[in-house]
């Protein structure tokens, strides 16, 4: 008789997810599902609100990446107004977006993923945490905190506060940059670069010991999608064009206008999760699987666009002849992107008109429909609004980065589970790898289901007739069931 393993909640991710592994009669995994059981409904609750409230409302979707929603939302509002915002305002928005990517990526790498990377996938779960990390490598833990502070302090300096800053508005930003702000931000960059270069060197030294995970963590052919800058580099603000490449790195579609996303992106639904499954329409569902986020972006661009990051990029791309396929390398890509963000910020702050007082365009709505696109830490983010003649929102559609990766995350869970999980000799380290592959994608479940939630995950073992044979269940504080429970999962 087959079985089902349930991991609930999945730990060290944002939001509340559950994994179900279905075993065959031999105790091997033959199906795997990553379920998101929370629903937020932001698209509905904003209906009837004045369009100019949208950036502030949409930023409430997430406490980790509010700035990404600010960017995409403000850009959608710019489109409703039909304005081209002043370039200094666009550059100031870019700087805030880069700062947020730094702090979000630092959270993912240093606080969520590093315990696995430093202490090992099979380490005692009681110590495989940020406190275990602190004990084993306090320098790494301090660097993570410092890098987070750098990103947060820049966001706070620009927006007045770290969470939900109201500085980004339709038409631009609501205050210019002062000399003191610029100099303060510039002073933070060198320390950030030192930390990330040190971290990259540490990470690369340790890659060899993760060879098996690299080979099996979401390592399969998919397409990759994201925005690239007008010059083919990293373009987080989303004012270049969309590019899609295949698993060999060959371009599938280029110079795609992101405003036409509905023509090439479909969203499928499944009855076992609230998270939709975006796919590339020309390839159908589910063959239209693609990935977004740091790994995708580094597979899409010709170069990053800053000197030190470009050196690291060249080394990264030499990992494979075509696209870098293993989702384990999301971690590596995240570090390179942090480096780029710091360098790019320095470039932008030295633009001659960065202190310009002309940072906002004013207009009433001139269009009934507006689309805003930006690259969030986790991938491409779309905000699409329609308004009535009073400027009130009548319809909204959001496609969130984590959603784009849903098909790939599910396939990655299956790949890892098939490789590592033996239902007859279940070990905690096997299941931790199932969670760790999810962490590589750094999903933001609150964002993607547009939840008041905790991040806890569940793994279920299901028999061939659908019966739940056993569950690895974490309570609201996310504790694993004890080993005795799990060792009793045999058929």
């Amino acid at each position: 008789m087959g079985q089902k393993i349930v991991i609930d909640p999945v730990t060290r991710i944002e939001g509340h997810g559950k994994i179900t592994l279905h075993l065959n009669d031999e105790g091997m995994v033959n199906q795997a599902f990553f379920h998101i059981g929370q629903v937020r409904g932001f698209e509905k609750l904003c209906e009837g609100r004045p369009f100019y409230e949208m950036p502030s409302l949409m930023a409430r979707i997430c406490g980790i990446c509010p700035v990404s929603h600010l960017m995409a939302s403000a850009k959608a509002c710019d489109a409703l107004m039909g304005v081209q915002i002043p370039e200094p305002a666009a550059n100031l928005r870019r700087i805030m977006n880069l700062a947020q990517i730094i702090q979000s990526h630092a959270l993912s790498f240093f606080h969520l993923a590093s315990p696995d990377l430093l202490l090992g996938m099979d380490a005692d779960p009681a110590t495989r945490s940020i406190f275990g990390l602190m004990a084993a490598n306090p320098d790494l833990a301090r660097d993570g905190i410092r890098l987070r502070q750098v990103g947060q302090q820049i966001v706070e300096s620009l927006g007045g506060k770290r969470i939900h800053p109201a500085w980004v508005v339709p038409g631009g930003v609501n205050a210019p940059l002062s000399v003191e702000q610029r100099d303060r931000i510039l002073s933070l960059v060198p320390n950030g670069i030192d930390i990330i270069l040190k971290t990259l060197a540490w990470y690369k030294r340790g890659l060899e010991k993760h060879r098996e995970e690299i080979r099996t963590f979401g390592n399969f052919p998919t397409m990759f999608l994201g925005m690239v800058s007008a010059t083919g580099g990293l373009g987080f603000y989303g004012d270049g064009f969309l590019r899609i490449v295949d698993s060999t790195g060959s371009v599938v579609a280029d110079h795609v206008d992101p405003h036409t996303y509905q023509e090439f992106l479909g969203e499928a639904v499944e009855p076992w999760t609230y998270l939709k499954f975006p796919y590339y329409k020309p390839a159908g569902y589910p063959n239209g699987i693609y990935r977004v986020g740091p790994l995708a972006r580094l597979n899409l661009v010709n170069q990053c666009g800053s000197p030190l990051a470009d050196q690291e990029f060249a080394e990264f791309r030499s990992l494979e002849r075509g696209a870098v396929l293993s989702s384990f390398h999301y971690h590596y890509a995240r570090l390179i992107e942090i480096l780029f963000c710091l360098e790019k910020m320095d470039q932008l702050l030295n633009e001659k008109d960065i202190l310009s007082k002309h940072v906002r365009a004013f207009a009433s709505p001139n269009n009934e429909e507006g689309i805003g696109v930006a690259e969030a830490p986790r991938g491409t983010l779309f905000h699409h609004y329609k308004i009535d003649d009073q400027g009130r929102i009548v319809w909204a559609n959001l496609i969130i980065a984590t959603g784009h990766n849903n098909l790939a995350m599910n396939r990655a869970v299956l790949q890892v589970a098939r490789h590592f999980v033996d239902g007859k000799k279940l070990q905690e380290g096997m299941l931790n790898r199932v969670e760790a592959v999810i962490r590589a994608y750094d999903p933001c479940l609150s964002c993607s289901t547009h939840a008041v939630g905790q991040m806890p995950l569940r793994i279920s073992l299901v028999g061939p007739e659908g019966e739940v044979v056993d569950e690895l269940n974490r309570g609201s504080h996310g504790s694993h069931a004890d080993n005795a429970d799990r060792s009793a999962l045999s058929a």
Partner: protein, 151 residues
């Protein structure tokens, strides 16, 4: 800076916003360069670094148990969580432990908690919690004067 005051909670969850509201009122009343007052939705590890640089840290938070409006003071001691699943938030004892491990220095730390009545999706404090705010402010101001070994 000698004293760090952190009011934390979610103002969109009714009385869970009492910490940020108390911090906001304290910021309006206290104009002391030796006191830094922060409002947070939740506590994150970065605060540990700041804590390591002060003599006294005071956290203000809502709690779910107790008679609504009841104000409780407790001294916080460093402690790792019983269950090691870090998401995005820390409790004051974890922050204190982080400060000890990473920065080798910890302040005297207090938690002032107020029992809430309503934690549903809503803005504004219930009347009984609002009525407790003056006591909260007096308590925090008094704790901020606590003498430490460096005084």
């Amino acid at each position: 800076m000698r004293v760090l005051i952190v009011g934390y909670g979610n103002p969109l969850r009714g009385d869970d916003g009492v910490g940020p509201e108390a911090a906001r009122r304290l910021a309006a009343e206290l104009q002391d360069p030796e006191i830094e007052i922060l409002t947070e939705v939740q506590l994150k590890p970065e605060l540990a670094e700041l804590m390591s640089r002060v003599e006294i840290a005071i956290f203000i938070d809502a709690r779910a148990d107790g008679e609504p409006g009841e104000v409780r003071i407790e001294e916080v001691v460093p402690r790792e969580p019983a269950e090691q699943t870090f998401t995005h938030q820390f409790a004051p004892p974890m922050l204190l432990m982080t400060a000890r491990i990473l920065y080798s220095r910890i302040p005297r730390t207090f938690l002032v908690s107020i029992a809430g009545q309503n934690f549903e999706l809503s803005e504004g404090l219930s009347a009984v919690v609002k009525a407790a705010l003056p006591e909260v402010l007096r308590t925090v101001q008094s704790l901020s004067q606590t003498r430490t070994s460096t005084d």
